[in-house]
C-alpha cells in the first residue's frame, strides 16, 4: 500500500508550470498562450526564459484557441492555458472546428478544474469538461493526480502528436507519485492490487481512493486501486482485467456523474465484462463556494463516500 505524506503538498498547476519550464529548455517548438492568468497557471518561469515563445492573448479565450490552431501551421506545439471552465465550455465550438476537426496539434492546459478550486464558486467550478472533451473525436484527455504526475503528463503531452486536453487543479494536494516518473498516455497506473473491489480514480480523487482502500482494509476488504490518468484513450485492458478479477468496481472523479470517467468505464465494462458499478461523482448539480475539503465532503466526494460506495457495490456482486 502506498504511504501518503500529508506534509508534502503541492498544487498540480505548479506541476504543469514545472513541466512547461522544462519543455521551454528542451523543445524549441513548444510555445505557450495564456488569457490573462499567467500566475494562476504558473507560467512565470517559461515566460522568463522564453519571452519570444509566449503569447498573452488577454481575456479572449476564443481568439486564443484560434491562434493556437494557427501556430501549429509552421510546426509549433502550442499550449493554450486558462481555467478549465474557460478552456472548454466557453470555447467549445472553436476547439471543435479549428482544433479537433482540423486535427491541430494543440494542447489545452486547463487549471482550476472541479469543485476543489473552492471559494470562487460554481461559475468557475466546471464539472462537465471531461465529458465535453472526451466526446470530441481524436482528442486525448488527461487528468493527473498530483504535482509529479502533472509535470510528467505535461511533458508527455508535448511529445504526443495530436490535440490534448490536460486537466489539473488549484489546491495544494499531497504528492504521492514518483518524481520524474515515466508517463505513458493511455496506460493506467496500478497503485495497489486487491481482489474484492476495483477502485478506478482520476485527478484529485486518486488520493481519496487510496484513503478509502486503507479504510476498506480495516474492514477486511481488499481493494485494487487504479489511477486512470488518461480518460481518453481509456486503458480498456487494465479496466477489464481488474474487474474480471474483482467482479465489481467504484469509479471516483471530480466531475458530473454523467459523461465523465464513470460513463466511459460503464461503457467498456458493459461491452467487455458486465459487473456492478458505483459512481462517486457530483450528482447532477452545480457546486458552491467553500474550502476544497468541505466541498468534497458536502458533494459526496470524500474518502468515506468512496468506502461506502465500495461496500455497497460489494453487496451487489
Amino acid at each position: 500500500m502506498i504511504q501518503v505524506d500529508y506534509s508534502n503538498k503541492k498544487d498540480t498547476r505548479s506541476g504543469f508550470g514545472a513541466g512547461m519550464a522544462e519543455l521551454g529548455r528542451t523543445n524549441p517548438d513548444v510555445v505557450a498562450l495564456c488569457a490573462d492568468l499567467i500566475g494562476s497557471l504558473k507560467l512565470e518561469k517559461f515566460i522568463e526564459e522564453n519571452p519570444e515563445r509566449f503569447f498573452q492573448t488577454g481575456i479572449a479565450e476564443a481568439n486564443m484557441m484560434g491562434i493556437a490552431a494557427g501556430l501549429t501551421i509552421g510546426g509549433k506545439i502550442p499550449f493554450a492555458c486558462t481555467f478549465a471552465n474557460f478552456a472548454t465550455g466557453r470555447v467549445y465550438d472553436q476547439i471543435r472546428q479549428s482544433i479537433a476537426y482540423s486535427g491541430k496539434n494543440v494542447k489545452i492546459a486547463a487549471s482550476h478544474a472541479g469543485l476543489t478550486l473552492g471559494e470562487d464558486g460554481a461559475t468557475h467550478q466546471i464539472l462537465e469538461d471531461i465529458g465535453l472533451m472526451q466526446m470530441l473525436p481524436g482528442f486525448t484527455v488527461i487528468n493527473p493526480c498530483d504535482y509529479n504526475q502533472t509535470k510528467a503528463a505535461t511533458i508527455a503531452a508535448a511529445a504526443h502528436d495530436g490535440p490534448v486536453y490536460l486537466r489539473f487543479g488549484r489546491p495544494k494536494w499531497p504528492v504521492f507519485t514518483p518524481e520524474n516518473q515515466e508517463f505513458t498516455i493511455g496506460k493506467a497506473w496500478h497503485i495497489q492490487s486487491g481482489t474484492d473491489v476495483s477502485i478506478f480514480a482520476t485527478g484529485h480523487m486518486v488520493l481519496k481512493a487510496i484513503e478509502a482502500a486503507a479504510q476498506l482494509q480495516d474492514k477486511g476488504v481488499s481493494a485494487e486501486v487504479i489511477n486512470i490518468h488518461t480518460i481518453k484513450p481509456l486503458d480498456i485492458q487494465a479496466v477489464i482485467e481488474s474487474v474480471q478479477k474483482t467482479r465489481c468496481a467504484v469509479i471516483a472523479e471530480e466531475h458530473q456523474r454523467l459523461g465523465g470517467l464513470g460513463s466511459a468505464i460503464a461503457q467498456v465494462t458493459a461491452e467487455g465484462c458486465p459487473v456492478p458499478l458505483e459512481f462517486v461523482a457530483v450528482q447532477d448539480s452545480f457546486g458552491e463556494s467553500g474550502t476544497s475539503d468541505a466541498l468534497l465532503e458536502k458533494y459526496g466526494l470524500g474518502a468515506s463516500h468512496v468506502t461506502a460506495a465500495a461496500l455497497k457495490v460489494l453487496s451487489r456482486k
Binding site: 510555445v31 519570444e52 515563445r53 503569447f55 492573448t57 488577454g58 479572449a60 476564443a62 481568439n63 486564443m64 484557441m65 484560434g66 491562434i67 493556437a68 490552431a69 494557427g70 501556430l71 501549429t72 501551421i73 509552421g74 510546426g75 509549433k76 502550442p78 465550438d93 472553436q94 471543435r96 472546428q97 479549428s98 476537426y101 482540423s102 486535427g103 491541430k104
Partner: protein, 281 residues
C-alpha cells in the same frame, strides 16, 4: 504574370464552376462565391507565392485562410484551376466520400486547405496564429484571410482584431467581403455594421478600401497596396465592396442567392452569361 484579360477569362470559368457545382448537388452557396471570384483569382493567380504540391506547414509560402467557409465553391474551383487537385473532382462537391466537403475541411486531406471553417468568426484568429508562426520561423511570407461582412457580427472577430493590432501582426492582410447581404436580408436590416473603416482604424489597423472588388484591376491595385503597407507595425485591412451573385444578372445584389442552388433552367440561363474559357470539368 497573367494579363488582365487572362485573369478575367479565369474568373468566367470559375463562375461556371460555381454554378455547376451548386447545381450538381442542388445545395451550396453561389451568391458569395460569385461575389468573391475576382478576389480568389487575384490571390491565387497573381498575388500569392504558393506551391500547388501543398505542404500543411506552408513554410516559405504565402498562406490564405477562408473564414467565411460557406463560399467553398469559389475556393475549390480556384484551387483546382491552380493545380492543387484535378478539376474533375469539382463534380464531387458536397457528395458522399468527397474531399470537397460542404464547408472547407482538412479532415479528408484536400490539398490547399489548412483549417476547417464554416462556423463563422474563427478564421482571423487562425490566420494570426499562422502569421505569428511565420515570424517565429523567420519566414517573411504573408498571411491572407477573407471574411464575410455578416461574419463581423461574431465577437471573436473583434478579439482577433484587438490582438493583431496590439501585437503588431503586420504580416497579415485581411479582407472583408462587403456585399451588404446575409442570410436573413441586408446587413443594415439584420444588424448594422456601422462605419467599418472607423471601427477597424479604431482597433489599430491600417485600412484601405476597394470600391469595386469585382473589378480585377482595382482589386489587384488594392492587394498590391496592402502588400506595400505590410511590415510597418500594423495589420492591414481591405474593405472590399462586391456584389453578391456577381456575373449572373438574376443572382446579383440580392441575399436570395446566399445559400440557394440554381435549378436546371436557372443553371442554363446563368451559364449562357459566362463564357467557357478553360473547359468545364
Amino acid at each position: 504574370m497573367p494579363t488582365i484579360s487572362e485573369l478575367q477569362a479565369i474568373c468566367s470559368q470559375v463562375r461556371r464552376d460555381i454554378i455547376r457545382q451548386t447545381h450538381g448537388v442542388q445545395s451550396g452557396h453561389p451568391g458569395g462565391s460569385l461575389g468573391c471570384t475576382e478576389y480568389m483569382v487575384a490571390l491565387y493567380f497573381e498575388i500569392m507565392h504558393h506551391d500547388k504540391s501543398f505542404q500543411m506547414d506552408g513554410k516559405g509560402e504565402d498562406l490564405f485562410f477562408l473564414s467565411n467557409g460557406h463560399i467553398s465553391p469559389v475556393w475549390y474551383s480556384v484551387l483546382a484551376r491552380s493545380g492543387y487537385f484535378p478539376v474533375s473532382e469539382l463534380a464531387t462537391f458536397r457528395k458522399l466520400d468527397s474531399r470537397l466537403q460542404g464547408h472547407p475541411a482538412t479532415h479528408e486531406h484536400l490539398p490547399g486547405i489548412r483549417v476547417a471553417s464554416g462556423s463563422l468568426g474563427q478564421g482571423m484568429s487562425v490566420a494570426i496564429g499562422a502569421a505569428l508562426s511565420k515570424k517565429l520561423n523567420g519566414d517573411s511570407r504573408m498571411v491572407y484571410s477573407l471574411h464575410g461582412d455578416g461574419e463581423l457580427q461574431e465577437g471573436q472577430i473583434w478579439e482577433a482584431a484587438m490582438y493583431a493590432a496590439h501585437n503588431k501582426v503586420d504580416n497579415l492582410i485581411s479582407s472583408i467581403d462587403l456585399n451588404g447581404q446575409q442570410i436573413d436580408g441586408p446587413t443594415e436590416q439584420v444588424l448594422s455594421l456601422g462605419n467599418l473603416r472607423a471601427k477597424w482604424e479604431a482597433f489599430g489597423w491600417d485600412v484601405l478600401e476597394c470600391a469595386d472588388g469585382n473589378d480585377i484591376e482595382q482589386l489587384l491595385a488594392a492587394l498590391n497596396e496592402a502588400k506595400q503597407r505590410s511590415g510597418n507595425g500594423k495589420p492591414v485591412m481591405i474593405l472590399m465592396r462586391t456584389a453578391m451573385g456577381k456575373g449572373v444578372d438574376f443572382m446579383e445584389g440580392t441575399h436570395h442567392w446566399h445559400g440557394v442552388a440554381p435549378n436546371d433552367e436557372q443553371k442554363d440561363r446563368a451559364l449562357a452569361q459566362l463564357p467557357e474559357t478553360l473547359g468545364d470539368y
